[in-house]
Point group: C2
Chain length 413, copies 2
C-alpha cells in the first residue's frame, strides 16, 4: 500500500477571533493540494501526546462550514499552553511525538500559535533534522498581542484592535453622557498585553471625527509613574467632566512591580511562568477615587477582546485564512522550520502578501511598540502608530446570525 | 404674535444602546406633527434647571442624521440621575421648571427614562394639574433592566440581552477552548441588574444548537445560597472541564447582604440611594478558586452591556423609535401624565403595538422575574422565560462603519 500523504494541524496559546480562519485556510489548501487525511490535534501538542486528534473531514462538510469556521472564535480544536522541553532534557517526549506522527503517516505538521508555539515548531523541526525524520513543520502566526518579530503584524491583532476601539468608543459615549457639571467621573479601561502595548494603543483609534478618544494611554513599554499619572488626571479633570484612561494590564512601576501587584493580587502563574494579570484598572480606579474624590469605574475588556468574532476585521479574517493556506503550500513545497509572515506591501491602498521566515529567527523574540511610536510623555501613541494599525481593522465580516445570535462551528466529539 | 407650539425632550437615568432611537422617534414625529422648535434638555431636568438646552434642528440635519442617531449609544443629550423632590417639599423647583417651560413656549414635555424618570413625569404632570399649567407630560420607557411595570418589556432591554447573549457565547467558546483534561476552569460572568434578573437570565439565550450555554444562572429574585452554589459547581467540575456561571450583580445572601459586600466593597451610593455594585463575580471567583483549587476568572460585562449599539437588536431599535414617536402623538392629542408602553400582540410571528398608561400606575413599581420563570433550584431560567425574551433580540441593525469603526452622532455645543 502506498504511503498516504496526511497532514496534521494544531492550535496553541491564547485564542483569537480569527484563529479558526487560519484553520479553515489550512483545511481548504490541504484539500486542494491533495492531502489525504487532514487531522486536527485536540488541544495542540499536549493532546497529541495523548493521541487526541480528529479527522477534520468529519467536522467540516461544506464550503458553508468553512465560512462558519472563519466566523468562530477561540480554538476550534482546543488549545493548550504546553511548553516542549529542550531536546536534551527529555528525548522520550520527542520520540513519542514522532511515533504518533509516523503512525498517522503525517507528512506536514502545521501549528497555529504565538511565540511559544513557534518555539515548538523550532524544536520539532530541529529534532526531525537531527534524527532524519521527513515531516515538515510550519508555523502560522496567531496572537492578539502582535508581539511576534519579523511579521508586519499578527493575525488576530486587527480584530482585537477593532473590538477594543469599538468598545472604547462606546464606553466613552456612555461615560460622557452620564457626567454633568461639577460631577466629574473617571473611567479606566484595562487592555490585554503583558509586555507589548499594541492592543492598549489601539484604543487611540477611538479618536475620530466625532469622538475625542481616550485622554491618556499607558503602555507597558514605558515605566509607569503613578505621581505623574495623578497630576495628569487632575489637570484633565479641571478641563473636562469625563476622563477616560486606557492602561495595559502589564504596566509596571519603576521598581519593576506590576501595578496590579501593588494591591497584593496576581498570584496565578501559567505553565510558561507568566503571571496572570488582572486588576490594574481596578487598582488605579481605587487610587484615583481616593486621591481626587471623583466617581471612578474600572472596565476590563477581559477575554472578549480575543474572542469577539462578531466584531472581526475583514482584513484580519482574510489574512488569517491566507497565512493558514500559505503554510500548507510551503510544507507541500518542502519547506520546514519556517513561519509564514505577513509583509505589508503598501499602506494606501493597504495590500499585503505572505512571506516565509526561518523560525529560529523568530521564536522567543517579543516585538514591542517602538519608543518613537509613543509620545515623549509616555501617555499616548503617535500618528505613526495609528497609521500602522488603521488598515488592519478595516472591513466588517458579517456574522451568520441564527435566532438573533452569531452562529459558530463547534467540534463534534 | 401667535404662541409657538414647541416641544422639549430629555433623557434620564442609565443609558441604553437605543435610547437615542427613541429621541429620533420624538424628533421625527414632532417635525411631522408641525411642532415649531424641538428642544433637547441637556442632562435632563437637572440641565433644564440650569437652562441648558439645545434646538435639535441645529444638531440633526438630515434623514441620515436620524439614522445615525438611532445607531448612537448612550444619551445623545446627556443624562442625569436627578430626583425631583416631592411637590410639598420644594415648590420653588417646580415653579422654576414651569417658568423655563413657559419662556420656551413648550406645549409638550417628553422624558425618556426608567422608573425614576416616570416619577418625574408623574410629579410634573400632577403639579401642572394643580396649578393649571397647560403643558403635557409624557414618559417614554427606557431601561436595559426591563423592570418597568405594565409594559411587556422596555426599549433597551432587547439590545442589552442580545449583546449579553452574544458575549456569553463568545466567552464560553473561549473558556472551552482553553481547558484540557484535568485542568478544569471556572468562569463567572457578572451581569447588571440590581433587583431584577432579566439581563442575567438573558445569558440563557446562549444555550443554542451549538453552545451549551452557561451552566448555572443566579438571579437576584432568589436568595443566594453560597454552600449550595459551591456544591453545584463541584458536581459540574466532576463532569466537565469548563464551567461557566452567570450571576447578577444584585444577588444577596439570606441575611440581606449583597454578595459583593461580603468582601467589604461597594461603598459608592448614587443620588437615588442606590449602592453601586461591582465585584460580585470577582468575589465568587476568589471563593471558588480557594474552595476548588481551580483556575477561575471573573468577567464583568460592565457599561458595554448598556452601550454596545454595534450589537443592537433590530426589533429593539424599531420599538424604541416607535415609542418615542407615540409619546409625541399622545401629547399632541392632549394626553398627559402618561407613559407609552409596548404591548405584545403575538409571539410567532412576534408583533407589538404601543399602548398608553397612566404614569401613576407605573412609577416606582419594579417588575422582577416571576418566580415560576426561574427553576425550582433557583439556578436557571425556564423555557417560558426564554420564549419571552427570544423575539426581542431578533434582527441586526448594521452600524454605519467609518474607517473600520461604528460612527455615532455626537452633540455639537
Amino acid at each position: 500500500m502506498a504511503k498516504q500523504r496526511n497532514i496534521i494541524v494544531g492550535q496553541s496559546g491564547g485564542p483569537t477571533a480569527v484563529i479558526n480562519s487560519s484553520l479553515a485556510g489550512v483545511y481548504k489548501t490541504a484539500k486542494e493540494r491533495g492531502f489525504h487525511t487532514i487531522y486536527g490535534m485536540l488541544h495542540g501538542v499536549q493532546g497529541l501526546l495523548d493521541e487526541q486528534y480528529v479527522d477534520l473531514s468529519t467536522q467540516i462538510h461544506s464550503d458553508m462550514d468553512i465560512e462558519l469556521l472563519k466566523r468562530t472564535p477561540s480554538a476550534f480544536l482546543g488549545s493548550c499552553r504546553y511548553k516542549l522541553p529542550e531536546i536534551h532534557e527529555d528525548v522520550a517526549i520527542y520520540e513519542r511525538i514522532f511515533e504518533i506522527l509516523d503512525k498517522l503517516e503525517i507528512e506536514a505538521f502545521v501549528y497555529i500559535g504565538g511565540n511559544d508555539s513557534m518555539d515548538t515548531i523550532k524544536k520539532l523541526s530541529d529534532y526531525a533534522i537531527i534524527k532524519g525524520h521527513k515531516q515538515k513543520f510550519l508555523g502560522v502566526p496567531k496572537t492578539i498581542d502582535n508581539d511576534l518579530a519579523l511579521t508586519d503584524h499578527t493575525p488576530g491583532f486587527g480584530s482585537a484592535a477593532k473590538y477594543i476601539a469599538t468598545s472604547t468608543k462606546e464606553v466613552i459615549r456612555d461615560a460622557t453622557g452620564m457626567t454633568y457639571n461639577d460631577k466629574e467621573a473617571i473611567t479606566i479601561i484595562e487592555v490585554m498585553g503583558r509586555n507589548a502595548g499594541w492592543l492598549t494603543g489601539a484604543t487611540a483609534l477611538a479618536r475620530t471625527e466625532e469622538c475625542e478618544g481616550p485622554d491618556l494611554i499607558y503602555l507597558p513599554e514605558v515605566v509607569f509613574d503613578i505621581d505623574k499619572f495623578l497630576d495628569k488626571t487632575k489637570e484633565l479633570l479641571a478641563k473636562k467632566e469625563s476622563v477616560v484612561i486606557a492602561v495595559s494590564e502589564g504596566i509596571k512601576v519603576a521598581d519593576g512591580r506590576y501595578v496590579c501587584e501593588l494591591s497584593g493580587g496576581a498570584d496565578y502563574v501559567d505553565a510558561f511562568g507568566h503571571k496572570q494579570l488582572q486588576g490594574t484598572a481596578a487598582y488605579l480606579a481605587g487610587f484615583l477615587g481616593k486621591e481626587t474624590g471623583c466617581k471612578t469605574r474600572s472596565i476590563e475588556f477581559s477575554t472578549l477582546q480575543r474572542s469577539a468574532s462578531h466584531m472581526a476585521s475583514r482584513v484580519d479574517v482574510n489574512e488569517a485564512f491566507m497565512v493558514g493556506g500559505a503554510a500548507v503550500k510551503a510544507a507541500d513545497e518542502g519547506e520546514s522550520g519556517k513561519m509564514v509572515v505577513i509583509d505589508r506591501l503598501s499602506d494606501d491602498p493597504y495590500t499585503s502578501a505572505v512571506g516565509i521566515y526561518d523560525v529560529h529567527r523568530i521564536a522567543n523574540n517579543e516585538k514591542v511598540v517602538p519608543r518613537e511610536w509613543i509620545n515623549e510623555e509616555g501617555d499616548y501613541v503617535t500618528d505613526a502608530f495609528i497609521n500602522y494599525i488603521e488598515p488592519l481593522i478595516q472591513g466588517f465580516y458579517q456574522p451568520f446570525m441564527v435566532n438573533g445570535l452569531p452562529q459558530h462551528l463547534v467540534l463534534k466529539k
